[in-house]
Amino acid sequence: MIPVNAIIKEVIKETPTITTLKFDIKPDAIPGQFIMVWIRGMDEIPMALSHPDGITVQNVGDASGTLSNMKPGDNIGLRGPLGNGFELLGQRIMIIAGGVGAAPLLPLAHQLRLKGAKISILIGAKTSKELLFEEQFSRSGEINVATDDGSKGYHGVITGLMDTYDLNSFDMFYVCGPEMMMRAVLDMLHMNGLESISQFSLHRYFKCGIGVCGSCTIDPSGLRVCKDGPVFYGNILLNSELGKYRRDVTGKKIML
């Protein structure tokens, strides 16, 4: 699979740091799958599909910065969809989104809603201006937000907001966000014996993106985030490196 050409049709500034790009093509993806986005002559990075025809980028580096500044009519190369995606299961759903981690969860919420699920969506961000997809998520279920600085909704981390729910009344949890947030959510679900009905979308450094090189394998299972994931059930992750360390571009362990 070589990159196919995609033309940027629309650029939406979602927050001061987050931008959505919509293309002229729709990769036939399951929610939670990703694409490798090639900025020609520069780099290729993995991005979750936030829309059937779009990605949502946070400006955190050279490649994501260049993507964030693209204009309608600009071209990129796309490989995908890649990875496993979420399993759409359950009727009483909690979606937990942290920061730009909301991206793969938005198409998931839409599809679960179409299947008739009742969904509670918890959105967390550092501050109210960085809350992502509040309005779009509200079409699929009940919204509750948490901000670290208290500028909107619950003042504090998202596990605090989770605590206000009867977690045992849910039959599936879907989670994506910063690593330490995901570890905290996993630990909280585990305390309630719910880790095996939770799905997490992981982020690791990808090189090949198709399960060959091994750059993104996680300990101790050796599972590849790009091919066996990026979505894993909580019970698989419980004793994993999640929230403890990751490997950098050279493969060296970086403690978190």
Binding site: M42, E44, G77, T250
Partner: protein, 304 residues
């Protein structure tokens, strides 16, 4: 799966079967190597490890073409100093762990060998086709190949395998140089230089512009190299290049391979090792053969 019919001894290493994970595929972490061992590989070769940390080439670093995989990873690795932990974990897979290493001069190879504890053998990467100062940059010069092999052999207390590049006029010349240097086995072949261009934009697809081709497309090239090396050398040849099914493994062994390495085929078929081993066992039993009967059989047929 352990069957006495499939067990081999290769450069003094006992292996349950003659299939080996090739270097550069899923060999970055100990856990990943252990996972491949449990999937049925008789031995595993790590990602190539160097003296200093390398980030590798910019992405895209690997694309799947219709005929195989084209890659220019660029030898990303955390250096041998950071790899001992991964090696310890990999060893828990209970199969021999061969550490692939690269350097630009004999001294660098020796430094890495001395710094890695517990390797069951070393595979000298004298063949990566897309690095400025490593791999094929040294592996195309028979004088340097002999020097590096001799230095490694003198330093190491475990077997030395030398992996060759097919991107030379005559691979046998290089194989003979490695053999003179004291190599315990030759591994052939590494990837073949290749390039792909995005016709929408004219940009070369790989971040490094060009890379190395692996997979089914290169198998006949590998078979010919193995055939020639087997005829010329007295040390074992380990075959690698496009093996994805048992018939490929048997063909490579008939060309002269004592064992086969598998790389590209794994990424979408994790059961490739156990599949090949089961079918190889059936093939041997049904024809009342032992492994030694098929190694180099093509040569004996031609001589008859």
């Amino acid at each position: 799966m352990t069957h006495p019919e499939l067990s081999i001894e290769l450069t003094g290493l006992r292996m349950n079967n003659p299939t080996i994970l090739a270097a550069g595929i899923l060999g970055t972490t100990g856990a990943s190597l252990k996972r491949i061992a449990s999937a049925g590989a008789g031995a595993v070769v790590t990602k190539s490890i160097g003296a200093i940390p390398e980030q590798g080439h910019p992405n895209p670093s690997l694309v799947a073409l219709e005929c195989g995989l084209l890659n220019a990873m660029g030898l990303p690795n955390p250096s041998y100093k950071e790899f001992n932990d991964e090696l310890m974990t990999a060893k828990k897979g209970d199969v021999p762990v061969i550490v692939s290493i690269f350097g630009s001069c004999p001294e660098e190879f020796c430094e890495i060998i001395e710094g890695l504890e517990g390797a069951d053998a070393f595979e000298l990467n004298l063949s990566c086709p897309h690095s400025q100062q490593y791999g094929a940059a040294v592996g195309t010069d028979p004088v340097l190949v002999e020097k590096i092999t001799r230095a490694a052999k003198t330093t190491a207390s475990v077997p030395i395998w030398v992996k060759l590049t097919p991107n030379v006029t005559d691979i046998v010349t290089i194989g003979e140089a490695a053999s003179r240097g004291g190599a315990d086995a030759i591994v052939a072949i590494n990837t073949i230089r290749g390039m792909a261009i995005d016709i929408n934009s004219g940009y070369p697809i790989l971040g490094n512009l060009y890379g190395g081709l692996s997979g089914a497309a290169i198998r006949p090239v590998a078979v010919k190299c193995i055939y020639d090396l087997y005829r010329a050398l007295d040390i074992p040849v380990i075959g690698v290049g496009g093996v994805s099914k048992w018939q490929d493994a048997v063909e490579m062994m008939m060309a002269g391979a004592s064992a086969v390495q598998i790389g590209s085929a794994i990424y979408d078929n994790f059961t490739v090792f156990s599949e090949i081993n089961e079918a190889l066992l059936t093939f041997l039993i049904s024809r009342d053969l032992i492994i030694d009967d098929i190694i180099g059989l093509a040569h004996r047929r031609v001589e008859q």
